[in-house]
Subunit: 193 residues, 2 copies
DNA sequence: CCTCTGATCTTTACACTGTCAGGATTACGG
DNA sequence: CCGTAATCCTGACAGTGTAAAGATCAGAGG
């Protein structure tokens, strides 16, 4: 019985999985590379070969997180009746992701550690941005509308996730939804109202 | 000539000043307490007596940063012609602060290190929030308008500061201003349009 | 089948970090 | 003038990231 084969087999993936657990438990600011290695049952210097340094691991994790973010929005958009409904559903998805994975959200949007010159990360971020542009164009909007929608969605999600908007937390589910719908709705290009 | 008096005199203030420099240079994630002590010309354990641990220092710094944030908004609001103009000027102030002091901005809005049960920090944050509510009430708005305005301002500032909105950075000053005015304007309660 | 080359992982080491315990210094009220 | 408490320092410890060097193994070429 091979207790511990010297070569892990798929250490890169195992490290990414362990890193995500570490991130959700300790947050970006408490993230420890050695702890990640321990989780994966491997020596503390093993990650270096796959990701370089800690920022390299966080960069890969951020790229993965970005696509995971986009997936959440995609799922939420399913069943939309029109373009406007889809944009609002995307806003809900934005908030849902921030609340479900706050540490990953902060890694992606509010951390200086990921290397934003990494092609993988750039590609993942660009996919999300292009999707957003598509949403706005389907509404006949332009660049200003992209900025408006993104700002409203991001600001709302970031503030609620960071517990700055306490008055909002203690509201009922229905009231919350109506509020989100209102805030996102204002950011959309005004046409069919 | 007293080269180094054993008692600093006003070490607490000196440490806060040094901490702010450290923060702007290294960011929240690279912040080092020992480095702060070195900047203040004091032993590495000296800060403990004034702030407890590192989070304590960052908490005090966050409280100071919050009032500094509010000050920036206040200055920007001077000379407003009406309530609507004042709200938009506040939005400009929000962005200005984020761009001028990105690390402090992130410490305040996107960090888990400050202790948000600290009375000082709570008071400083509440002052800013109450001011925002005042802005919206002067416009005849309610709670939904507070959320909308704050979300738009915060989202816009956070995204631009974090360089996620690249298409916006390379615009002219005039175009930028028009865009900000448009985004903030949408979040305001619609009455006088 | 054998060797050897490169990829993968470990061990060791070093500088740095935050925090704690204990000691030194000094301001200040009695 | 003295003692007490506040202030600051020294020393120590565990934990961190990263670099260098060695160990192990997979897979290709002979």
């Amino acid at each position: 019985m091979r207790e511990k084969p010297y070569h892990h087999g798929d250490l890169r993936a195992a490290l990414l999985a362990a890193a995500e657990i570490e991130l959700t438990e300790k947050g970006v600011e408490g993230f420890s590379l050695r702890s990640v290695a321990k989780r994966a049952g491997v020596s503390h210097a093993a990650p270096a070969h796959h990701f370089g340094d800690t920022n390299g691991l966080l960069t890969a994790l951020a790229a993965e997180g970005f696509t995971r973010f986009q997936d959440t929005l995609d799922v939420r958009e399913i069943g939309a009746v029109d373009a406007r409904d889809r944009a609002i559903r995307a806003g809900f998805g934005y908030l849902e992701f921030a609340l479900a994975r706050p540490a990953l959200f902060r890694l992606i949007f509010s951390s200086a550690r990921p290397d934003y010159t990494s092609p993988d990360l750039i590609a993942a971020a660009k996919r999300a941005y292009d999707h957003l542009v598509g949403l706005v164009e389907a509404l006949g909007g332009g660049e200003a509308d992209v900025v408006a929608l993104w700002s409203a969605s991001h600001g709302l999600a970031d503030l609620i996730m960071g517990r700055k908007l306490r008055p909002m937390v203690q509201k009922s589910q229905a009231e919350q939804e109506a509020l989100v719908r209102e805030v996102i709705g204002r950011a959309l290009p005004r046409r069919a109202e």
